[in-house]
């Protein structure tokens, strides 16, 4: 249980015991609490006062399945709010094996200087000048780093977008195959990393000093039951390994909630071409395929590998949200083009959602035509080169809207919405509006409630409660380090009990049934407190005007949850 504090100004690295006030926290609950305590709320997100924090989940590094999630936190240059961006891959487990609870990056290197933070198998950290890696895209960077530091290395890094300090810059991290295709994508945290002068975090995977588990026997027993339940659940056990998250394309289109052509339609005509069913078919024909293990400890395997017609690797983990951003929002109905765009985002270090929506806004404003795949690829290359237009696109949909004086910008607090239209899934609209993170589906997705027939997606009633519950649960999962796709198994009471037991056994305290919810609430409270100190009020927790005014086909509904109701969502 230790913190590594790295000051990029003085290059001083300090290892310290986890301070008393942070004990029992991990992942998002830890990054958000540290930021709320230690970062001046009104600071420049790209200045030395901001802190960039990497924190594996509370259970990352244990044997519990699907716990290889890492939280990256900072004040966001995109939203201006507190931010936690969550990623899979292998690095959370690697840090867990070293007993590292958080890495806190402070200060700022001299402009133009770049460093790598390396942590060896003993947990010793050093800053290494990274001049030779400057400007590199992530695939060649990771290749080179693995050649230098060995094949038992996990990497978290930025591409050119992060170095240019673009507001859609992601932090990419290596998957089980050492491809930097998993991302802490949202909120422009890649720009924070770039501003600090940190090109990559490189962690040895051979650490053997994990934190002790208080009751190893009880933990083992509970972990076994939980794993069984994840396998038994039809969504995590059967659906995801065969279709991946892309399986949602058909369902969300069938519900009329797939924001298309920059959110002017709720169904994409021809969505069948980009459906999960079609994706699986293509991948199986070409080699690669679904059922790919993206993250350490994963027994679900929602990831995939997409090959081109010649059977050459194009990209990995082509996800629903990316297919939507580059397919639905732009009208590009070709998986080969979408896969290429996904690869380019990973390689340049960009959030696929914010970037796809930025391109869609540009198309809607008339800069290029909808459905023009080549134009989309060229726009991404402009971002990669950092041209004048590339810089606008790389700052996301709000920047593009400003550039073209275009008002239809599907974003909240400058961050793009995700692949669920708030007019046809009102609860997801509540989450977009009220999440302390800006529009973010992973902060509290309500679709499961709709599909399980518990709530009508089109009516405002019941949406605030559903969003609130989802936001609390997600904040807790992001803190514990459990992949949210495994968290669906918690619906089964036996799985929930086993999970609570595992967490209790790890921490050495008998946790009550409400402990997980309390962790989520505490996290959201810290986040909202930071945002308020940064100058945000309830008035910022609104959707863009067009969602209230332009009805969405085919249901012809607008967003109908009242402001007064929105304000109760997280008023704990």
């Amino acid at each position: 249980m230790k913190f590594l504090r790295v000051d990029m100004s003085s290059k001083n690295i300090r290892s310290e015991e986890v301070p008393q006030s942070y004990l029992g926290l991990g992942g998002r609950s830890l990054t958000s609490t540290i930021i709320n305590t230690e970062v001046p709320p009104k600071c420049d997100p790209l200045g030395p006062e901001n802190k960039l924090i990497f924190a594996p989940g509370l259970l990352s590094g244990t044997n519990l399945v699907n716990t290889s999630r890492i939280s990256v936190g900072a004040k966001s240059p995109l939203t201006g709010t507190i931010k936690e961006s969550n990623a899979g891959g292998t690095i959370a487990t690697a840090l867990g094996h070293l007993g590292i609870t958080a890495i806190v990056i402070d200060g700022q290197a001299v402009k133009g200087e770049m460093f790598i933070l390396r942590i060896d198998e003993k947990g010793e950290a050093s800053l290494i000048p990274a001049k030779e890696y400057k400007g590199m895209r992530t695939y060649s960077l990771v290749d080179k780093l693995i050649k230098t530091y060995g094949d038992k290395t996990s990497v978290m890094c930025i591409g050119p977008a992060g170095e240019y300090l673009m507001k859609s810059a992601s932090i990419q991290t290596s998957d089980v195959d050492d491809h930097p295709c998993r991302a802490a994508a949202r909120g422009g945290l890649g720009a924070v990393m770039g501003a600090k002068g940190l090109k990559a975090l490189v962690v040895d995977r051979r650490g053997k000093s994990p934190d002790a588990i208080a009751d190893p026997e009880a933990f083992k027993e509970a972990a076994k039951i939980f794993a069984l339940k994840v396998k038994e659940n039809p969504f995590s056990g059967q659906f995801l390994p065969n279709l991946g998250t892309a399986g949602l394309v058909a369902a969300v289109n069938s519900m009329g909630a797939f924001p298309s052509y920059n959110a002017t339609k709720g169904v994409l005509p021809g969505w069948e071409n980009i459906s999960g069913e079609n994706l699986t078919k293509i991948m199986k024909e070409r080699g690669g395929g679904p059922g790919h293990m993206g993250c350490a400890q994963c027994i679900i395997r929602c990831s995939n590998v997409f090959m081109d017609k010649q059977g050459k690797y194009v990209t990995s983990s082509l996800e629903y949200e990316t297919i939507w951003a580059f397919g639905g929002m732009t009208g590009i109905k070709d998986l080969d083009t979408i896969a290429r765009l996904d690869f380019l985002c990973d390689d340049i270090g960009l959030d696929t959602m914010n970037t796809g929506v930025a391109i869609a806004v540009a198309m809607d404003a008339g800069y290029k035509k909808f459905e023009d795949g080549q134009a989309a690829i060229e726009m991404l290359e402009e971002i990669g080169r950092g041209t004048e237009m590339g810089k606008v696109l790389g700052d996301g949909p709000a920047a593009v809207g400003r550039r073209f004086s275009h008002l239809r910008i599907p974003a909240v607090k400058n961050q793009s919405i995700a692949a669920y239209d708030p007019r046809a899934m009102q609860g997801n609209g509540v989450t977009y509006a009220t999440s302390p993170m800006g529009a973010d589906h992973t902060a509290g997705n309500v679709i499961g409630q709709y599909m399980a027939r518990k709530l009508d997606p089109l009516k405002p009633e019941g949406q605030v409660k559903a969003s609130r519950n989802a936001q609390i649960a997600m904040a807790a999962m992001d803190s514990i380090g459990l992949c949210i796709l495994a968290a669906v198994a918690l619906e089964a009471p036996e799985a929930g009990a086993a999970f609570l037991k595992a967490l209790s056994a790890k921490l050495g305290t008998e946790l009550g049934a409400d402990a997980i919810g309390q962790l989520g609430i505490r996290t959201l409270q810290a986040e909202r407190e930071f945002n308020r100190k940064a100058g945000f009020t309830n008035k910022d927790d609104r959707l863009p005007e067009f969602f209230y005014k332009e009805a969405l086909s085919p249901h012809n509904t607008t967003f109908a949850v009242t402001d007064a109701d929105l304000d109760t969502t997280l008023a704990f």
Binding site: F235, L243, A246, A251, S254, M255, E277, A419, N445, M451
Partner: protein
């Protein structure tokens, strides 16, 4: 009465030789409900399946009518 059924995701494997482009043409008793159809297909309604017609998620008690186009999905929780 005749209805058309489209299956998505892994539910397609429930029906041997299912053709995604064609779907299933079925002849079911007059007055059948969605729950009855799921039983006929051997798809458990809970926690597994969601039925969508004309953009709406329908309750299990909903009655089908001649010519209905029924889409059946797994319950999904987001991606």
């Amino acid at each position: 009465m005749k209805i058309k059924v489209k299956l998505f995701g892994e539910l397609r494997r429930k029906i041997p030789d299912y053709r995604p482009d064609k779907g299933l043409e079925m002849d079911i008793p007059e007055g059948s409900k969605i729950a009855d159809l799921l039983v006929l297909l051997g798809i458990p309604a809970s926690p597994g399946a969601t039925v969508i017609m004309e953009g709406r998620i329908l309750p299990l008690e909903e009655k089908l009518s001649h010519g209905s186009l029924v889409n059946i999905f797994h319950v999904m929780f987001g991606g």
